[in-house]
Amino acid sequence: MVDAKKQDPRSKFPPVEGGKSRYNLTSGKYMKIWQGPQHPGITGNMSLELTVCGDEVVDCKTHVGYLHRGFEKLMERRKYIQCFPLVCRICVPEPDFNEYLFAECVEELAGIQIPERAKWLRALTLEMARLTSFLMWIGGQAGSFGMGTIGQWTVTMRDYMLDLFEELSGGRIYHMYIIPGGVRADLPEGYEGRVESTLKQIEKVLKDVELALMHNYVFKKRAKGLGIITPDMVDEYGITGPNARGSGVKRDIRKDNPYLIYDQLDFEIVTETGSDAYARTWVRMKEMYQSIDLIRQMMKKMPKEGPFFQKLPNVLHWKVPAGQTYHKSECTRGEYGFYMVSDGTELPRRVYVRGPSYTHAVTLMERLAVNTNIADTAGLMVSLHTYPPEIER
């Protein structure tokens, strides 16, 4: 802690009094700027209260709460099956993880085994959701460095993926496809061919994105060295997913604690060692190719027929036995988990949603933003890939 009396008056950082930085905003040396709550690079609303000295950020505070819809409270007053239309809305670009984890928790507490084919269909939708979410993210990442065209290419590709979801589940954004006992429907006829042709299109566009973004002088110059996450920060700040893998930390729940059928697929954990925004972008680019490969593997290895749904008791009067459990999965941002407590009644006692953005967007962002240029703050924020709805639930 810097003593106010001893501090060099030329320092860009303000004196600390009583454990808090004291900015004299009337001095003309500092200025407060709000970034957000609307920003095209993040899905949802979140604002950064930035204190800048010149064009350099000296303090950052994350504000959330613009999208609080009280999902966890609502679920305490609804029957298990009534929670399904709710949970998917916690994360807009990747709703399937909420459906899967909620279903998995209920099934474990109720002692329900799902058919083998349902596991494959669940994994297929989760991997398709990952690819769809990455396609949306890369638009934000490129756009925050002034390359809006790339976002237009990838959002088009995302729309083709949404077409596939619509065909499978009837919904483009919220699918409500994964339900306790399995999945709602089988693959439509000829679906495999349509998936393959969409994947080919996406692969082609990703090659263009790679050329236009990853080898772009401006992007390299600005993203390299931005938002360094050292490997020892990973455990300290609870960092998971591509943010950790971009620092060379080889962790992926799909590999470490395989769920569904991931242990039957052939893939390696993608890592980079740059630790900066550029390295994180590479990890996500490579994970998009990985997702494409995994979808193809699933299509090939999946049992071609068999049941995809296990009959449930009357869901309107369904009492799930008392107990507690925690299930997790690897979404595009890292560890996504559901902690569920049942007291043996028809309503869940408590459902807690663990979203990776909770740590990335608040504590980590507040630390990484300090010392960055104001113009790079948006790029930094998007490089952490945050979705505010999962912070405030």
């Binding site: 455990d235 609870g238 663990r354």
Partner: protein, 182 residues
């Protein structure tokens, strides 16, 4: 006896653990008294490799008059999740902070203060609002918070919009001069 049961017997020698639930090879829950919880968390973090704080939350057990706090930790070497649980009284709910162990622990504690009214003395920014800016009612995640009653008291009765007969309204407001001739 698997690894976690083995560990449990070691921990039991040092702490007064009151319960253990081995859910699977990847998940277990252990009940610790409130005054030993932070010491236990520090031990499993530093000596047993549970370095990742996955989440920290509370369950309101209104009928028992307690909040059950759950600290979920993960060990990346053994790929194991450990839920450390402790009960604290609902009246003047307060718990020792863990922000010195993980910086993001302060964010969880800030949320628990706002949503459940559990205090964590010394935790940075614990009294600042997190999600609910300008909230003065009872912490909303408490079981005895009645959402319906709160909404009715806060937002109703609302006057709402007046409805008009379209034809009459147009006659009177939009074309008063022509209306005379209609």
């Amino acid at each position: 006896m698997n690894i976690i049961e083995d560990k449990f017997s070691v921990w039991q020698k040092r702490f007064s653990l009151s319960g253990f639930e081995n859910k699977s090879s990847e998940l277990a829950f252990v009940q610790v008294p409130a005054d030993q919880t932070v010491a236990f968390i520090t031990t499993v973090r530093d000596l047993d490799g549970y370095k990742h704080l996955v989440f920290f939350t509370a369950v309101d057990l209104l009928e028992d008059g307690v909040f059950r706090l759950t600290y979920m930790l993960h060990n990346y070497t053994t790929k194991h999740d450990l839920g450390i649980q402790t009960d604290i009284s609902r009246d003047s709910a307060s718990m020792e902070s863990i922000h010195h162990l993980w910086p993001h622990g302060a964010t969880y504690q800030r949320e628990l203060k706002e949503m459940f009214g559990i205090d964590f003395p010394g935790s940075p920014g614990v009294n600042e609002s997190f999600v609910l800016e300008g909230w003065f009612a009872m912490p909303p995640m408490r079981r005895d918070f009645d959402t319906k009653e709160y909404s009715e008291a806060t937002f109703f009765p609302r006057p709402g919009r007046k409805t008009f007969d379209t034809q009459e309204y147009m006659k009177e407001q939009l074309y008063p001069s022509e209306a005379e001739t209609w």
